[in-house]
Every structure is written in structure tokens, then in C-alpha cells.
């Protein structure tokens, strides 16, 4: 499993902001600058699904750009960050940007240092995936299970998904993590990470502009063959078939089945009552 560089697509009029974003190249981002909304839209279309976008929502000048709304509507799974000067009279604009689907804000002249921008941009990687997974978890899923899945999504999106890293992120030993996943009715850590990776790929498969090879590479698989093997094993379908059925819905349904299966297996093997199991 290889992790390619993450393209950073930028449309911003402020040269200082552009310079600071360009400095993120040493943090694993491939900087690409665009001159107008049409070029950016074409860039997002051609970019791998792992791309992140930073824009000036007022570009070129005046009110919020209608082109930004269109971009967010056309590419809902692409994380877009708005970099703007936050002033007291922009409450409505900030609220509107959230309604449109902007997933992070960089406050120019306030938290536009390299460190702050890096933190803000990184936080967007897993946001859409976390939201999508939170929506498909069975309602009875407990807080501990949600915390583990949330952290797994964070790791998968950053390309550092291993059961060791998951244990480190949750601040427990690998043994404790294994015990926690069993008690929370989740698959074991490695399998859970494989599921989350499949869900990430499935989310991107739902974008008709991405080829299966693009999705496989963006999700960190060696190629479309590797993706096909994993989807066949876990979801029971090829990527093409998943696409036809609604990839995320199909993978999500199988993931829910896997969760139910694991929860039930645990209860039977431990001989616990549901009450005792849910305490854990």
C-alpha cells in the first residue's frame, strides 16, 4: 500500500497566503496554483480524489463567489478550505460558507502562519469521511466504538493506518486496543482499518469523474487490481458493481452487517447478557 503526495489546489489573490501555502510542499503537499474559477474547476476534475483545495471565497472581488458554490455542488467529496479575512461584519458570510459545504476556514492575518495553516488543512482530510461513517453506524453503537472508528478514519485519511498507529492515537497498548474492539463489538483493528479504507475508496467511487485506478491510488492501494481484490473479499462486489449500486451505500451496508456480526459473535462467545456487554 503506497501513499501518493496530496495535491493542494490553490486559488487566492493574496500573495502572502499563496507563499505560506506553497511552503506546505515540505509537509507532503503538491502545490498547484490556479488563476480563475474555471481553471480551478478543471483542476479539481482532473486531480486525484485525495486533493485538497484552498480558495479565496471572494475571488476576484466583491461578495461570495457563485463559482465557489457551483464547485462545492459539483465536487461534494472534495475538501475545500476558505482563506479569508474574518471581520465582525462577516458572520452571515461564514454561516453561508458552512451551508455551502466549506469544511475549514483559515483566518487571514490571524491564524495564517505555516503551523496554523498546516493544522487547518490537515483537519480537512478526514472530515468528510468521518461524517459519512458516523451516518452509517447503527444507532445503538456506543461511544467507545464511535471513538475508535473516528480515530481509524483519521488515520486512514492521513495514510498512516496501521494497528500500531491506531493504538498510539488512542493512547493504549495494542493488546488493550484489541480488547477494546472486541468489547465495543468492532472487527479487530487491522480488519477495521481495512473496512475504513474501503469506505474511503467507496466514497470516492461515487464520484463519476474518477476512474477506478484514480480511486485505488488515492485510497492508497497499489492499483485497481489491489482494490478489486479487497472489495471482492470484504464487500463481495467489484468496484464497478459497487459503483452501479451506489458504492458508499453498498460498502456501508456490508460494514453494518460486519458490525452486527461481530457484536453478536462477542456476546455468544462470552456468554454475556447484552446489558453486561454494553457496559464495556
Amino acid at each position: 500500500v503506497k501513499q501518493p503526495a496530496r495535491p493542494l489546489l490553490v486559488l487566492h489573490g493574496d500573495p502572502t497566503v499563496r507563499d505560506r501555502l506553497r511552503a506546505l510542499t515540505d509537509a507532503g503537499y503538491g502545490y498547484e496554483e490556479y488563476a480563475d474559477w474555471a481553471a480551478l474547476s478543471a483542476g479539481v476534475h482532473d486531480a486525484p480524489a485525495s486533493a485538497v483545495v484552498v480558495v479565496d471565497p471572494y475571488f476576484p472581488k466583491g461578495g461570495l463567489a457563485a463559482e465557489l458554490r457551483e464547485l462545492l455542488f459539483r465536487y461534494p467529496s472534495t475538501p475545500v478550505t476558505a482563506a479569508l479575512e474574518v471581520t465582525a461584519d462577516r458572520a452571515t458570510d461564514l454561516w453561508t460558507l458552512g451551508k455551502w459545504g466549506i469544511c475549514e476556514i483559515i483566518s487571514v492575518h490571524h491564524d495564517d502562519t505555516k503551523e496554523a495553516i498546516l493544522t487547518r488543512v490537515r483537519s480537512t482530510h478526514a472530515r468528510k469521511l468521518r461524517e459519512a461513517i458516523a451516518a452509517i453506524l447503527p444507532p445503538e453503537t456506543g461511544g467507545r466504538a464511535r471513538a475508535i472508528v473516528d480515530t481509524a478514519a483519521e488515520l486512514v485519511a492521513s495514510g498512516a493506518d496501521s494497528s500500531k498507529n491506531l493504538a498510539v492515537a488512542l493512547q493504549v497498548s495494542r493488546r488493550t486496543l484489541l480488547r477494546w474492539t472486541v468489547l465495543a463489538g468492532l472487527p479487530p483493528p487491522r480488519k477495521l482499518l481495512a473496512w475504513v479504507r474501503i469506505l474511503m475508496a467507496a466514497q470516492r467511487l461515487d464520484d463519476p469523474d474518477q476512474t477506478v485506478l484514480d480511486v485505488a491510488r488515492a485510497a492508497g492501494y497499489g492499483g485497481d487490481g489491489a482494490l478489486r481484490r479487497v472489495t471482492a473479499k470484504l464487500v463481495g462486489l467489484s468496484p464497478g458493481a459497487m459503483r452501479r449500486r451506489g458504492a458508499f451505500a453498498a460498502a456501508g451496508a456490508r460494514f453494518r452487517e460486519a458490525l452486527v456480526k461481530h457484536g453478536r459473535l462477542h456476546l455468544t462467545s462470552q456468554g454475556d447478557s447484552p446489558a453486561a456487554a454494553s457496559i464495556c
Binding site: 471581520t87 462577516r90 483566518s107 491564524d111 473516528d150 453486561a276
Partner: protein, 413 residues
């Protein structure tokens, strides 16, 4: 350092990480809900303060010095001048400003306390999302404080995010055990019991009993009362009336006459009595509660229960008075989600009371408001109530109890 503290410092603890609350709360970006709750420049100031605190907390100590631009303090001062917050909130927000350019953990203590003050302000203004966001920020700035994690749990629970509350309560338990702070430990167990009460009553009972044991060891009277209150709810839901009565009196005794938890307990007791068919007692309790329950959501709950109780007793003046008070309260909420929800609650109470015309009127208002606000779940619920009003309900006289004032007047509806 005592031997116990030394042993704890050496022991390996499983500490749950702080949760990402934006994903659970469905926010497009961190702090967005604040902009919805607090419009205008004050919302922007709160939003920026929250994000600064969270950014500072998420950054390694040695990188914090160069985290904000050199003009950041001036920008915050401009926002503060434009927002003109009241004195209490303003002093808290000025303290939060000290984080900019700071690297010391001493500042974290100050800003954690300031974030706590913003939480109290937001609670007093009925801004649950803002309160939750700042409670989360306080817990992030003070990652080893059990009290801050507990407050985040309480706020998440109050804002309706049960899973988020569960994560915070579990984190509180881990932190409290590490630092041997048994009062937050017991309070977090009570919180977990509340989270599990609907989902798994048996598990909830275990948590409440654990909390009672912990309270007995440290003498935390109010927390003990909350644990008895939780056990009362479980017993009432299970239909164990003798046990429920006993637990309610134990909780009442431990709350004492002035504890804020007492009114919530009495509200539950009144609803329980109403369910038992003892509507006259319920009505009396609810009428007394109206004097102390002044905050909008809790007052609305009392008024809704009073509408039900008065209809069952057949006391028309009380019913009318409660109805109009509820309508006035809804009017003050305006075109908000809370307004839609209150309309819906009142419509349900009216259906129960056999007041189908009134139920249809408020249910329709709830439906239209939910549609305008794009709240699909609320729309569906309002439609269900509208269907019930169309199907008709048994007239209130069939469930009404004898009432001296109503006996001569015949049917109430």
C-alpha cells in the same frame, strides 16, 4: 506525594482521547453552530475565540509561540470592540485572548477557566451548541482536568449528543481515577447512567449503583441525589412503583430545598404521577414548579405536562392558562428549531388532552416551521401528529377524572 499517588503516577492508564465534536455534531467546520446560535459580530468573536483555543490546544508546546500572526491580537481587539459583549462575557473573552502568542501551561489554566465562564454565559442564554463548543475547548486546553472533561460531557448530554457525552464521561472516569478525584468520578458515572438509561436500563442501573458506592466513600451528597434520581427514573419506567416512590423520596431528601436538581426531579415525579393516573397531584406539583422553572426549555416542558394534567382533571381555567403561557413562550422563540420543537410538544399534549383543533393548529405551525428550516425529522414528526388529529382521539371526558369544578360543566373538549 502519597504512596497511592506515586503508584498511580507509575501505573499505565488507558486514557480515552478527547473526541472530535464537529463530526458528531454535524458541523461543516468547527464552531459553525455558534454562528447559527449567536448572530452578528458577537457570534464571530465567539467563533474566533473558540477556534484559537482549539488550535492552540492541538499544537505541540514548542510550536505554539509562532502559531498566530503578529497582527492576531489587534484583530481580536477589533472584533471585541465591534461585538460589545456584556461585562461578564467580555472579561472571559479578554482572558481567552492571552492564549495568542503564549506557550506556558499557566496560561492554559487561566484560559480553561475563562472558557468555563463562557460556558456558563451560554447556558444562561440558552445557547446549548455554544456551551458545548466552549466546554470542549476548555477540556482541550486542560487535557488532564477531570472537571473540564465532565463539564464537556454534561454539555454534550444537554445538547442531545449522547454518544459524545459517553466519550467525555469515560474520559472523565479515566482522568479522575488517575488523579484520585472521586467527586467528578462519581458524577461521570451518574452521567453514563443517564446516557444508558434509554438504550440499556440494566447497564444504566449498574452505573448508578457504582456512583452511589463512590459517593458514599467521599460524601458527595448532591451527586448521590442525582444517582437516586436516575434510579427513580429507571424504576418508574420499569413500573416498579414501590421502589420508584422510595427512590424519589431519598433523592428529594438529599437534594434539600434549594438545589437546582430538585425541580427536575419534581418534574419527573409529576410526569410519573400523571402516567399513574394521579393527575390531581401531578397538577399541583407542576403548578408549584412554574414558579421555579424559568428557563425556556424547562418551563415549556412543565407547561406541556400541565396541559395534559389539567385536561385529565378537567380543570378548564388551569388548562387555558397553561396553554396561553405555552403559546406566549413559543412566540418568544420565533422561527427557530426550538420553536418548531415546542410547537410539536404542545401539539402532542393537546392530542392527549383531546383538544384536536388546537393540536392541529400547532402541529401545522410546527410542520411549516420545520419545512422552512429544512428539518426533515421534525417535519415527519409533525406530520404524524397531524395524522393523529385527523384520525381523531378519544374525547377527554373518557379519561378525565372527577373534578368538583368540572362536574357541573360536562365535557371539557
Amino acid at each position: 506525594m502519597t504512596s497511592g499517588e506515586r503508584a498511580n503516577s507509575l501505573r499505565r492508564w488507558c486514557l480515552r482521547p478527547a473526541p472530535h465534536h464537529d463530526a458528531v455534531a454535524g458541523e461543516p467546520f468547527t464552531g459553525w453552530s455558534i454562528l447559527r446560535e449567536v448572530p452578528g459580530p458577537l457570534g464571530v468573536l465567539l467563533w474566533q475565540s473558540l477556534r484559537d483555543a482549539l488550535l492552540w490546544a492541538a499544537t505541540p508546546v514548542n510550536s505554539r509561540g509562532a502559531l498566530f500572526s503578529s497582527s492576531a491580537r489587534a484583530r481580536r481587539a477589533e472584533l471585541l470592540a465591534a461585538a460589545k459583549p456584556d461585562e461578564r462575557l467580555g472579561s472571559a473573552l479578554r482572558l481567552l485572548e492571552t492564549l495568542i502568542g503564549s506557550t506556558s501551561s499557566g496560561d492554559a489554566e487561566v484560559t480553561g477557566a475563562a472558557a468555563g465562564q463562557v460556558v456558563s454565559w451560554a447556558v444562561s442564554r440558552d445557547h446549548p451548541q455554544t456551551a458545548l463548543a466552549f466546554a470542549h475547548a476548555a477540556a482541550a486546553v486542560l487535557p488532564s482536568s477531570a472537571a473540564a472533561a465532565l463539564r464537556a460531557g454534561h454539555r454534550a448530554h444537554a445538547a442531545g449528543y449522547q454518544h459524545l457525552a459517553e466519550i467525555w464521561y469515560r474520559r472523565t472516569i479515566s482522568l479522575a481515577r488517575t488523579r484520585r478525584e472521586w467527586v467528578p468520578y462519581a458524577s461521570a458515572l451518574v452521567g453514563l447512567g443517564r446516557v444508558y438509561a434509554d438504550r440499556d436500563p440494566a447497564a444504566a442501573r449498574v452505573y448508578f449503583l457504582k456512583a452511589l458506592r463512590a459517593c458514599r466513600r467521599v460524601g458527595a451528597g448532591a451527586t448521590r441525589a442525582h444517582a437516586f434520581h436516575g434510579l427513580f427514573r429507571l424504576a418508574a419506567a420499569a413500573g416498579d412503583h414501590v421502589l420508584a416512590d422510595g427512590l424519589a423520596s431519598k433523592a428529594l431528601r438529599r437534594f434539600g430545598p434549594h438545589h437546582p436538581g430538585r425541580s427536575e426531579l419534581l418534574q419527573d415525579v409529576a410526569e410519573y404521577r400523571l402516567q399513574q393516573g394521579d393527575s390531581r397531584v401531578a397538577m399541583r406539583i407542576l403548578q408549584d414548579l412554574l414558579e421555579v422553572r424559568t428557563r425556556t426549555p424547562e418551563r415549556m416542558r412543565t407547561l406541556v405536562a400541565l396541559v395534559r394534567a389539567a385536561a385529565r382533571v378537567g380543570d378548564r381555567p388551569v388548562l387555558e392558562s397553561a396553554w396561553f403561557s405555552a403559546m406566549a413562550l413559543i412566540g418568544r422563540l420565533g422561527e427557530t428549531e426550538d420553536g418548531a420543537r415546542c410547537n410539536l410538544d404542545l401539539a402532542r399534549a393537546a392530542v392527549d388532552a383531546g383538544e384536536c383543533a388546537r393540536a392541529a393548529e400547532v402541529a401545522l405551525r410546527a410542520f411549516q416551521l420545520s419545512q422552512r428550516l429544512d428539518r426533515r425529522q421534525l417535519c415527519r414528526e409533525a406530520e404524524e401528529v397531524l395524522d393523529q388529529t385527523r384520525a381523531g382521539r378519544p374525547p377527554v371526558s373518557t379519561i378525565r377524572e372527577s373534578h368538583p369544578a368540572a362536574q357541573g360543566s360536562g365535557r371539557v373538549s
